[in-house]
């Protein structure tokens, strides 16, 4: 944050809008809110146009002379390609139902963060440039021409939307701000205005297969390090395979889990779970990213990054694909992938090799969510579990935006958690399930330089956690999203100190009774589990 605000200072939020008309308030691009621009080489790396150096706070953004033409041409093209865009530009009645549904508005009070106004930023240009009424009546019809200040304003607020779709839930016509943001971001990417926090992972993912740019050997090594940790903490030696042809299942998860805490504990959870049930699966160092920052750039970029999963599944000859815990990854997989990619004939309808369950809901795409997979295992009694190992945890569950509003996976993770933890508490009903709040940093806004924005956007989620923290002593926030795991710890530390963030699979593995395991006196984080101190000193050295 530019100047560190205390939570008390951040909480001074006025949700009442100013008297002045929003069109009369020029955009003020603030430090702590905006993200740094994409580095030119990261744009060139995926052949996107107009890579150049620029800064949002400078007057001149270094755009090509015909930027207006490019923007409007791109606008028209997208209107012709997406019925959603046309309808969402035309039918908003400004009823205001969405206004206080956005975490960024609630956390900042910035009236242009009301979803309706954020969409009006583009809609006003649509009216002013494309409709007769707007051209004749101008301001009176809520129309304006595209100018540089208008573009800057659009840009600024396109990166204050996490595409979480909460507003869309409450809209009487289902107007989806995420869709408007997606297409709006496509437009500004026509002349190189992406942010680096999105563009660099895109470039990395394109080349190395993952957002972090881990090279094949590093990717493998990182997972092997985690296997070492498992050996140390659990006493089981796991030897996962990579790029193995003939495996039954290809496993793909966001690369954040390979690399950063607390995601790595979730990844250790996957490893232990698969070992426990003896799953015939392989990792891939090529298709090693479930997440898809291309989705935050353009649908075309999302398609290009997503293509690797099927491509690799076909090459390895697997039967079906299992996907790890990730939010927007599952929006892309669930709602886009089956349209993005041509079907792969060698894939088969997914059947759990352990329980024999047919995953009916994935029979065409052939890709199953780890929580669906695990819930099925538990239901069939295929996991030996000791939930009391998680007794020191008081757990609540954060629905990620995308699995809830872009898929509807609400019960499976809850079923899993309730089977591996004895103390589970729901947050207030307006903040969970389909009404869940975003972590505040989704859609590629989990950078460091926009920390004020992230903390403000994270307020509604954190506030609901605080409620159960105070009421029930909740100390663990479970989630099924890599971005959640990356950003919620900061948000918790800021708003609700004393709450840890954990992936659902981490909780599963902690409760898992594995054959040949040690006394499990420490959890996957290497922390002693209260009340389970080792009986003998050697217990931990038992290799």
């Amino acid at each position: 944050m530019a100047k560190e605000l205390t939570p008390q200072e951040t909480l001074r939020i006025d949700l009442r809008p100013p008297k002045q008309d929003w069109m009369d308030i020029p955009v003020n691009i603030k430090e702590g809110i905006y993200c740094y621009p994409a580095k030119p080489e990261k744009i060139e790396c995926v052949d996107m146009p107009n890579a150049h150096k620029w800064s949002p706070v400078e007057e001149d953004w270094g755009l090509p002379e015909n930027w207006k033409e490019i923007f409007l041409e791109g606008f028209r093209e997208r209107l012709d390609k997406h019925r959603t865009f046309k309808i969402f530009m035309d039918i908003c009645v400004r009823c205001g139902a969405c206004a206080d549904k956005c975490h960024f508005f609630i956390g900042s009070g910035d009236p242009k963060n009301m979803p309706v106004v954020r969409a009006e930023l583009l809609r006003s240009v649509y009216r002013g440039e494309f409709t007769k009424a707007g051209q004749i009546l101008g301001r009176l019809a809520g129309a304006r021409k595209l100018t540089m200040p208008v573009l800057k304003e659009i840009w600024y607020y396109l990166f204050q939307c996490t595409e979480c779709r909460r507003c869309s839930l409450f809209c009487p016509y289902g107007i989806d701000t995420a869709e408007i943001t997606i297409l709006g971001r496509e437009l500004i990417n026509l002349f190189g205005l992406n942010i680096n926090w999105i563009q660099e992972p895109v470039c990395n993912c394109y080349n190395t297969g993952n957002h972090l740019g881990l090279l094949p050997h590093t990717f493998k090594q990182n997972i092997e390090f985690l296997c070492d940790d498992i050996e140390e903490f659990v006493g089981i030696k796991i030897e996962p395979t990579f790029n193995r042809k003939g495996a039954e299942i290809l496993f793909v998860t966001p690369s954040g889990d390979v690399f950063a805490e607390p995601g790595i504990y979730t990844l250790m959870g996957y490893l232990m779970l698969f070992e426990h049930i003896g799953l015939d699966y392989t990792w891939s160092t090529y298709a090693c990213e479930g997440g898809n920052f291309g989705f935050f750039t353009s649908l075309e970029m999302a398609q290009r990054l997503n293509a690797k999963i099927y491509h690799e599944a076909e090459r390895l000859g697997v039967k079906w694909i299992l996907g790890g815990e990730c939010g927007h990854m599952w929006r892309v997989i669930h709602q886009y992938m089956n349209t993005f990619q041509k079907p792969v004939d060698s894939l088969e309808e997914p059947i759990s090799p352990i329980t024999g369950t047919k995953f009916e809901n994935a029979k065409s795409l052939k890709m199953v969510h780890i929580s669906e997979f695990t819930a099925d295992l538990i239901k069939h009694g295929k996991l030996k579990l000791d939930p009391s190992r998680n007794d020191h945890l008081k757990v609540t569950y954060h629905d990620s935006c995308n699995p809830s509003r872009g898929m509807g996976m609400l019960e499976e993770p809850r079923y899993v958690i309730k089977n591996v933890c004895n103390h589970f508490y729901e947050m207030p009903e307006n903040t969970i399930r389909e009404e869940t709040f975003c972590c505040g940093s989704g859609s590629g806004l989990n950078a460091g330089e926009n920390m004020e924005l992230r903390m403000r956007g994270g307020l509604p989620r954190a506030n609901a956690v605080k409620h159960v923290h105070n009421k029930y002593g909740v100390n663990t926030l479970a989630c099924v999203c890599a971005i959640d795991r990356a950003v919620l710890p900061a948000s918790m530390e800021y708003w609700v100190p004393g709450v840890d963030v954990a992936g659902v699979s981490e909780l599963v593995a902690n409760a898992l009774i594995m054959e040949g395991e040690n006394e499990r006196s420490v959890n996957l984080r290497g922390e002693e589990i209260p009340g389970r101190a080792p009986k003998e000193e050697e217990a931990q050295e038992d290799v």
């Binding site: 809008p17 869309s168 839930l169 190395t208 090279l215 099925d376 509003r405 509807g408």
Partner: protein, 329 residues
Amino acid sequence: MAILVSLGAVLAIVVIALIGAQVGPLQYLLGILVPYAAFAIFIGGFIWRVVYWGKSPVPFRIPTTAGQEYSFPWIKRNRFDNPVKLWEVLVRMFLEVFAFRSLFRHTRAELRGGNLIYGPSKWLWLGALMFHYSFLVIALRHLRFFVQPTPEFVKTIENIDGMLQIGAPHMYLSEVMLLTGLAILLGRRFFAPRIRYISLANDYFPLFLIIAIATTGILMRFLFRVDIVGVKELVLGLASFHPTLPDGIGAMFFIHVLLVSALLAYFPFSKLMHMGGVFMSPTRNLVNNTRMKRHVNPWWTPPKFHTYEEYEEEYRDLMKEAGIPVERE
């Protein structure tokens, strides 16, 4: 500003009609030509707008899922908030169109002493529902002017609507509800700071226009009586393409008709097209079966991506060193 201009525009329509109604030949214009033109614009414009939308494909299936997905038989799914079958999505659409399901979810977020509180807030839903249903009832009741003999269901509606038998002619419940609904909707725009902030002339104008239509309609019934037989003769003439212009109908009727004509002509070019749009919104009218069934995007192009071959070419040595199997040694 937006308020004044919208109000001014509606008053201008009233004044034009008032003047026109006094001049014989202009009555022909106001009573026959303008309604015909407005109706033609309404239908033509409506079709044009829907076709304009329809020309763009729905490339991706992006329903907003508002409940548990279809997964295992032992997990209770939410059929109507997360439909996978056609009839389920039809129910979802029915609830959306006829019960304003999404608006019913409406809550109000408030920050109190550092705590966010979400309270139910049904005023918008209630106002919208009152307004739309009473408008529908009133439109249907008007069929008695358009059709001879009056269809039975119109009589039934009329009987229920006028069951209080207050005054002569009877006061209709729908009249009261329409004005109440409009008052709620307009009141929000006036007094709720956030709604006032986002309101445009495009929002005030239709509200004022419909208030004016309702007011002239009510005035015509109770205060400035017009010759109903003449009105029916004119309207029936319009609806059967044998337009006639009876004498002495009364000015209030012409004001009412010009206002309605304005609404009809304005409709296709305004936000009022949400009437058609709500049926075509891809976040509501699609089933959530994207992993069960492949959907085709008409403008699909094959992705240009970094293939495995290229990848191995770049990293073969590193992969071999790390013991990762490769295609070509």
